[in-house]
Symmetry: C2
Subunit: 234 residues, 2 copies
């Protein structure tokens, strides 16, 4: 029997219309949808996006704990990879759904690395990134002419943010909540508060846009928050 194929499918930022025709076709064609979760009891935003396109499809849930313990993380990837490879060996095609795009800070690529190095074939379907959706919703031009753009993830040390703010036209901070007060201090010192927008749960039904971040409290922010600092914008 031929081995199955694993697809890493980007399902976009939240609005279920912001998924590509290709992603929908793949989701309908495969045998199994793999849904990543941090715990069994938690909801999956990626699943909510695609649920209307995959009626009666077999679902497997894969657990990727929110942890900074490398050993625990690696073990969870290996457990998920084993589950996936077992189905691939049976000739089943699997679509692993992932919020945004699979190559931008997605758990899929950890799984992909293990699966590919075990000799299986995988295909990645790109998705709309959250930062492009945030820019679209707020009318911000992320890059024009000779602007460079920098994308900084939540796990990044923001100690050198000041240096980065000096050298780039646009700075995108993803899931920045834990560093919010420190970032705000920087922005105030650089007089960039007015050039900053925060979008929370972009394109989801409960999206929020904050343009006055000076008076915004960290505790009000959700996990899925993106900050755009654009020097040209006022």
């Amino acid at each position: 029997m031929d081995r199955g194929l694993l697809y890493g499918v980007g399902v976009g930022p939240g609005d279920s219309e912001l998924i590509t025709l290709k992603a929908v076709r793949i989701l309908k064609e495969v045998d199994i949808i793999a849904v990543p979760k941090s715990k069994y009891e938690s909801n999956s935003t990626a699943f909510d996006i695609v649920k209307d396109y995959i009626e009666n499809k077999k679902i497997i849930e894969l657990i990727f704990p929110m942890s900074f313990d490398k050993e625990e993380l690696y073990k969870s990837w290996q457990v998920s990879a084993d589950i996936v490879m077992k189905s691939l060996d049976l000739g089943k095609n699997i679509a692993f759904i992932t919020l945004g795009d699979p190559t931008i800070y997605s758990t899929f690529m950890y799984l992909n690395k293990i699966i590919v190095s075990s000799g299986y074939k995988t295909i990645i379907i790109p998705g709309i990134t959250s930062f492009c959706a945030c820019a679209a919703e707020t009318g911000i031009n992320l890059g024009e002419n000779n602007d460079s753009i920098i994308i900084i993830p939540s796990a990044s040390d923001i100690g050198d943010l000041e240096k980065k703010l000096d050298s780039f036209q646009t700075v995108i901070l993803m899931k920045f909540r834990k560093n919010f007060e420190e970032i705000k201090k920087f922005l105030k010192a650089k007089d960039l508060i007015k050039n900053t927008v925060i979008v929370e749960k972009c394109t989801m039904t409960d999206q929020k846009v904050y343009r006055d971040i000076e008076n915004l409290n960290k505790d009000k922010l959700e996990y899925f928050s993106t900050m755009i600092i654009n020097k040209r914008m006022v």
Copy 2:
């Protein structure tokens, strides 16, 4: 009569399936499709992507010359804005199609600025960026964990590329052809040639992937080329 709406619609990198459901719906609903071109006689890749979705729809071509002359550019944006606003005044809804995403180095945003500041309402529909498509096609993880990603456009001075290469995990160079020999020299000096991939016309029928860029000649490269330098990749 109510004024029409202007949509800036990202149509993705080239594959006509890599467009969102939302973009296709908007293209079918509007009265007019606006197609940007550099000259009347040139082809439009964005139009090729959407042509099967917009049969019998009224088309207007807008000319944005490839020029570094700011006055000529500004004049062309104003001429296009006037054409668009005339139709909006007649209550027509217009979709301006743009390759990739409208907020990433797209001509749409110049037009958008004029139209918005003239009091019209516009809506931006995000698209799949060329760099996400390139990463998907080549299996490269653009960002994981605490990696920062930088995006450098064709018009950018690459004089400080060396400094940027030192501080970032992933560097994306868009439409870099004119600086190719200089970039190659940098990459050789930094021993990063093996960490570099070039994708030309990504997801189009004549896509090419170059993994051995040391022996690649500038004259072989097309305009729509993207380079990804990823330090983790080998």
